[in-house]
């Protein structure tokens, strides 16, 4: 079974260590949730893995293939950035046809949420509509592993629920690493949670650890989980 192996990731900004010798792995069919406070380095980690951010050191491997840059990761690893990344002035239908391989297009073109938008252009869509299109494109790409950086950014609760259910439905065919500022979304979706703090990753075995680590208050924990 294919596995995403991320090892020895180190990154500093202005002599401050953001990521220190990070190790994380993800199997196909697994959703790994990456949580941490604002500015803890979650997005930086995903960008380093994808190849758009330069680290001091990194080792990324999928199966037997070592991923050193974006071209190495073609058809293996895709990244959903926090903000809209679709080109303007081209219809959504054309974008789907250009972005996806022929065999993957039909499911997106026939999606109930996409169908009414096919003749519209990116700049004519609402934030939620754009996010749905972006997520469907990334999920139905040929990539085996998907890095989702705040997929629920700027979406209404109904769109958020749709995205959560869709990712769960499509879980078996790919591996996912997901991060979101709203920890509840990540905790609800992920099979395993890792917490990034002071440059180090810690696997969370029990949600109550998040209180001990200072990620949430005891009151919040009791309100949400008891």
């Amino acid at each position: 079974m294919s596995k995403l192996h991320i090892d020895s990731v180190t990154k500093s900004y202005n002599n401050k260590v953001i990521l220190s010798d990070i190790f994380i792995s993800c199997k196909k069919g697994e959703i790994k949730g990456l949580i941490g406070r604002n500015g803890s380095g979650k997005s930086t980690l995903l960008k380093i893995v994808f190849g758009t951010e330069k680290p001091e050191s990194k080792f990324v491997r999928i199966g037997n293939k070592v991923i050193k840059n974006i071209s190495d990761g073609r058809n293996l690893i895709n990244y959903l950035p926090q903000d809209n990344f679709l080109p303007n002035n081209i219809s959504i239908k054309s974008l789907i046809n250009l972005f996806l391989e022929k065999e993957n297009r039909k499911i997106v073109l026939e999606n109930e949420n996409v169908k009414p938008l096919l003749n519209k252009k990116n700049q004519d869509l609402s934030g939620g509509e754009r996010r749905i299109i972006e997520i469907l494109l990334i999920i139905h790409s040929n990539a085996e592993f998907i890095l989702l950086d705040e997929p629920f950014n700027g979406v209404s609760p109904i769109v958020r629920d749709y995205i959560i259910e869709y990712i769960k439905k499509m879980k078996s065919s790919k591996g996912y690493i997901i991060t979101d500022h709203d920890y509840e979304n990540v905790i609800n979706l992920a099979d395993k949670i890792v917490y990034l703090q002071n440059g180090y990753l810690k696997e969370i075995k029990d949600k109550s650890e998040l209180v001990e680590l200072g990620y949430m208050t005891k009151t919040t924990y009791n309100t949400v989980y008891n």
């Binding site: 974006i70 950035p81 679709l86 250009l98 990539a143």
Partner: protein
């Protein structure tokens, strides 16, 4: 083929704007086709810098997710400029 089509999508925005400016410059400097070609070769990278690096940096992620790197996109701008110059020199 899909990669090539996406590079052309990236270039579409750069091409038309750069060409319009190049024709104007070409006319100002005597209207020779070679001059238009040379102007295009110089202006297209500036247009890419303005439209993608400054105004729409996030759109690069669309191409990155197809395995097309930033270097490949910059090279494509220069290659199209060179091809255009060669065609205009032959004319």
């Amino acid at each position: 083929m899909r990669i090539l089509k996406n590079i052309l999508l990236f270039q579409k925005k750069i091409f038309f704007i750069s060409y319009a400016i190049s024709i104007l410059i070409g006319i100002l400097f005597g209207g020779q086709p070679k001059m238009i070609g040379l102007s295009f070769l110089l202006i297209a990278p500036f247009t890419q810098y303005f439209f993608y690096e400054i105004k729409n940096k996030n759109q690069y992620y669309y191409y990155y997710n197809l395995g097309i790197s930033n270097v490949m996109l910059w090279i494509s701008t220069f290659v199209i400029g060179l091809i255009n110059l060669l065609i205009l020199m032959i004319i």
